[in-house]
C-alpha cells in the first residue's frame, strides 16, 4: 500500500451539481464506456425530538480514511470490470439538501456498474473513519451513526 499513490478524496464543503455535471462531461471522450452509475449522498433535514437537522459537520481521520478509500478503490477494480471510478467526500459543513458524497463508476457494460457501485458505497459506510455532527436549527447537535 505504501508504494501506491493515495489520492485525497476529501473536498471542503458541499459537492456542487456543477462539479458533478463536469465530471460526467469529462467522460464523453472515453468512448469504450457504455454505462455510468452515480451515487449521491444528500444531507437530510431529519426531525429528531421536534428539532430539525440543518447541516452536518464532517470530520475524518483523514490519513486513515484516504488509505481506506484507496483500498476500496483497489478492491473494486479487482472485483469488477470498471473503466473508471471516482469518489469524493465532503469535510466541514454541508447544509441539508446539499451533497456530501459522490461516487461515480463507469464500465463498457451495465450489469457490472450496479454491483460495483453498491459494493463501494457499502464499504465507504462501513470502513471509512468519517464522523458527522448533526447540527440542529437551535445550534444543539447530535452525532450521526451509519445504519
Amino acid at each position: 500500500m505504501a508504494d501506491k499513490k493515495i489520492k485525497n478524496v476529501f473536498r471542503q464543503g458541499a459537492i456542487s451539481s456543477e462539479f458533478i455535471g463536469n465530471s460526467i462531461a469529462k467522460h464523453q471522450t472515453k468512448t469504450s464506456i457504455g454505462a455510468h452509475n452515480i451515487f449521491l449522498g444528500q444531507v437530510r433535514a431529519d426531525v429528531i425530538e421536534n428539532k430539525t437537522v440543518s447541516a452536518i459537520e464532517y470530520t475524518a481521520y483523514e490519513d486513515m480514511a484516504n488509505a481506506k478509500f484507496h483500498d476500496i478503490r483497489e478492491a473494486a477494480f479487482e472485483k469488477f470490470e470498471l473503466t473508471c471510478m471516482h469518489i469524493y467526500h465532503s469535510l466541514g459543513t454541508v447544509n441539508a439538501g446539499e451533497i456530501c458524497l459522490f461516487v461515480f463508476v463507469s464500465s463498457p457494460r451495465r450489469k457490472v456498474v450496479f454491483k460495483a457501485l453498491e459494493f463501494i458505497v457499502e464499504a465507504i459506510k462501513a470502513d471509512v473513519p468519517v464522523f458527522g455532527k448533526e447540527i440542529f436549527e437551535d445550534e444543539s447537535h447530535q452525532w450521526k451513526v451509519n445504519s
Partner: protein
C-alpha cells in the same frame, strides 16, 4: 513507553482534546482502554474502536505505540 493518541468526533468531545501523549506501561489495547477509562470516566458510555497504524485493532492487539486513534462510530456518506 510514551504514546500519542488521536481523538475524533464525540470522543474528542469527552477528552476535550484532539491529541495527547501519555505514558503507557501495559502491553495490550485492552489495558490502554482501562487506563483511558480511569482518566476519562465518561468514555465508558461511549462506543468507539481503537486503530493502530491506521488499521482497526482488537482488545488483544499489542500496542506498538504508532498512530493510535480512538474512533467513534463511522458516519460517512
Amino acid at each position: 513507553m510514551l504514546i500519542t493518541i488521536k481523538y475524533f468526533g464525540q470522543i474528542a468531545e469527552v477528552t476535550q482534546k484532539e491529541e495527547e501523549s501519555l505514558e503507557f506501561s501495559g502491553a495490550l489495547v485492552s489495558e490502554l482502554i482501562e487506563q483511558l477509562y480511569e482518566k476519562y470516566t465518561l468514555l465508558k458510555n461511549k462506543d468507539f474502536k481503537v486503530a493502530q497504524n491506521q488499521e482497526l485493532a482488537t482488545l488483544e492487539t499489542l500496542i506498538s505505540g504508532n498512530d493510535i486513534a480512538l474512533l467513534p462510530p463511522f458516519a460517512g456518506g
